[in-house]
Symmetry: C3
Subunit: 315 residues, 3 copies
């Protein structure tokens, strides 16, 4: 693996998931691989799970980790040819090339604006790092994607499923704030790569990017979508077509224990209790959310390990 910016960077998903599960059983078997290698984590947005799990994954491999929170002190310029006489003080070209000299890998988190659809869809921050960094880049959630979460979810589903081809439902759920599409997109992308029956359900107007969802059925009736589900993955997102808008906070879309039935409940966290899902779901036996978060460590660790292996072969 030469980078990890989307699930496409994984050649064989089920093989990678199996390797991650083996790492989980014995996380310290490759502590030499990361020796004298530095991972720089760049956060343009705050992070709890991603920060701690990625840092732990790197240290499990013997790497050094530097965490940099990019605040207003660095207003980075991403456009080419700009006369930088306004608020931006450093161009991504220099930033990415410079950090590449202090890091053996750069992991980046950069959320969407949810205001400028074109800019968000172009993944200007992540793609600028890919373009200008001279070391492997890892996506810790970008404007439209969250492949480390997707890989953790693949591990969780693989560990938990009781049938060969489970039915998985991705359900929109209410939320008081406008949220990105990245987790939903990454999960849809994941579903392309797993042997599942997959259905998406949401109120009308909440259609995701059709380029991403085009091969999957959308069922606007949540109850119908949930029939015989093995896994229900809840997530809020703002409208994609009426970009970044909240069209609806209908509490009837909240996941309840009754709706869940025997299905396993998944969510990437953080979750707003009694808004996205009721307490009885999160405190019930069918919730996988804590294990999903646990698997973030091993998703990150297998990615780092595969990149380290590629680097050591090249030398």
């Amino acid at each position: 693996m030469k980078k990890y910016t989307s699930l496409n960077d994984i050649k064989n998903l089920s093989d990678t998931v199996q390797k991650a599960i083996q790492l989980k059983e014995n996380p310290y078997q490759f502590t030499d691989l990361g020796q004298h290698k530095t991972l720089v984590l760049l956060f343009f947005n705050a992070s709890l799970r991603t920060r701690l799990s990625t840092e732990k994954a790197a240290k499990n491999l013997g790497m050094e980790v530097s965490v940099l929170n990019i605040t207003n002190a660095w207003n980075m310029e991403f456009e080419d040819g700009t006369v930088m006489n306004l608020s931006t003080s450093e161009h991504i070209k220099e930033a990415a090339m410079v950090i590449s000299q202090y890091a053996d890998m750069i992991a980046v988190r950069a959320f969407p604006t949810l205001k400028d659809k074109e800019k968000d869809t172009s993944e200007i921050v992540l793609n600028s790092f890919i373009k200008y960094a001279t070391v492997p880049v890892i996506n810790m959630e970008s404007a439209t994607d969250h492949p480390l979460q997707a890989l953790a979810d693949a591990i969780t589903i693989t560990e938990t499923k009781k049938v060969d081809k489970p039915k998985v439902v991705l359900s929109w759920a209410p939320h008081p704030k406008a949220l990105p599409h990245s987790v939903a997109n990454a999960f849809v992308h994941l579903m392309h790569n797993m042997d599942v029956e997959f259905v998406i359900t949401h109120p009308k107007g909440y259609e995701l990017d059709s380029e991403i969802t085009k091969h999957f059925p959308v069922e606007y009736n949540q109850e119908k979508a949930f029939e015989n589900a093995d896994f229900i993955y809840a997530k809020n997102w703002s409208s994609f077509n009426d970009y970044g808008k909240i069209l609806n906070e209908d509490p009837n879309w909240m996941i309840t224990k009754e709706k869940l039935g025997n299905a396993k409940f998944m969510h990437c966290l953080p979750i707003r209790r009694n808004v996205v899902a009721e307490d009885a779901v999160l405190d019930g036996e069918n919730s996988l959310v804590i294990e999903q978060a646990n698997n973030r460590t091993f998703a990150a660790q297998i990615v780092l390990k595969e990149i380290l292996k590629t680097m050591s072969k090249e030398n």
Copy 2:
């Protein structure tokens, strides 16, 4: 030791103090004990001494340390059953359970509101971590307690005292801001566990929680309280009865070199010079404040070490 959230978690204080003094002489004798163990430090409030000393203590034991400053980006919910459709974005249940998967111990700093007495007294943040975390919790100063400071003070007094049963005075001192009771409470708690003659002195209206102070005399005349003192511990706190209020900034309560006499001067730092104590006290030979801060490292280190030992026995 299975956690360290109050001085009560220490079974034998003088034995623990002796072990800390031995660690201080040779801090690197247990670097294997912390191998592949991660300490996560969670700061809901800023920290200098606690941050650096606890981090150093952990690294002295070979542990990995992750520091997370909890800013407004994470507004955590601590109440059960809330419909989280307002400002809080993550419930402590998930946060504590999730962080427990990335950490072998969690250390938490969370100051009081000084506005809601019931909430502060209930120690909602610390107790929620104790309740929901699945790994040992360490108190890095909570709403009403600061047991790492108390343990460091025990080390300092033990190293310095010249008589078997010294006279120790805790004196309120002026301060322009309303401050918590945690350090004062922790010190009173410590005095229960040491062989000392202990007196508390403060202006009327500044009585601490009587549940904590009930076995000790309060002397409202500072001069009288200081007679024949071996140690004078200065600290400001806001009113407990008229909760969180500043009743008095009377500069006559400032500790002066003249008042101090031959007693040793103690304070947890940071200290406002010429408000809490005059320069001549802090710059004089009788000041122990720098050594108290130094002992924070070894207080933290003995606590971490005892918890690591318990963990390794359980495995």
Copy 3:
């Protein structure tokens, strides 16, 4: 080396540069030297390059690193004798002495106010750390100096120069914000210690501190200054005489590819593209800015190594 607060702390510059170049070839040859040694990085101002390069340099030597961003939560007092009943909550005396107990070296970044010339020129923050810290202090850019940048620049010039005594020009360049003099001062200081022909060029009114520049010619005609230059070092600074003011943003002072000719281009970064220098300069083959940033690691590493060596001899 007992500290590194100015270029004066280096006894033999060319020897130190050669040792840094050797470290760059094999950065991990002294990993034992820093064992059980902690470097505390204190940032009163934000940092990208300095933070990451200094952290990497320390870890390359086997040191532990703690990074502390000093925010408004700690308003430090630097004046002696103050009655601290206003906004400052901790005196530098305690802070420096306390941190010295958690650190084997303290590195400090503290920018000038650009409002109070006397205060800035007195280097009150850096000098207070030097005065009160009981461990070696490293300057990570102070009010008037940036000796780690200067050392990195010495490495870059030494690696790149094609003639024994190159012509080096320091040119003021436009910038929309008022910037410190520290990089320019440090570079002038460096030029005293290298075998170069050195010229300073800037618009009238932008004279640097004459105490620093007095041995070098100032040429107000940029074109003339650039004739036959081997290295052009661009940097904006605010007025020193009309302290902290922007007198002029004349875009004619921007460095262009045409002006640069065959000279190498240097800048400490971050740089505002098409304001300080045009894209064609930064993207051209003659730009050394990325290599200058790379050399920050080895400048810091040789400094840390020399201080560690002195410490180990003293023990």
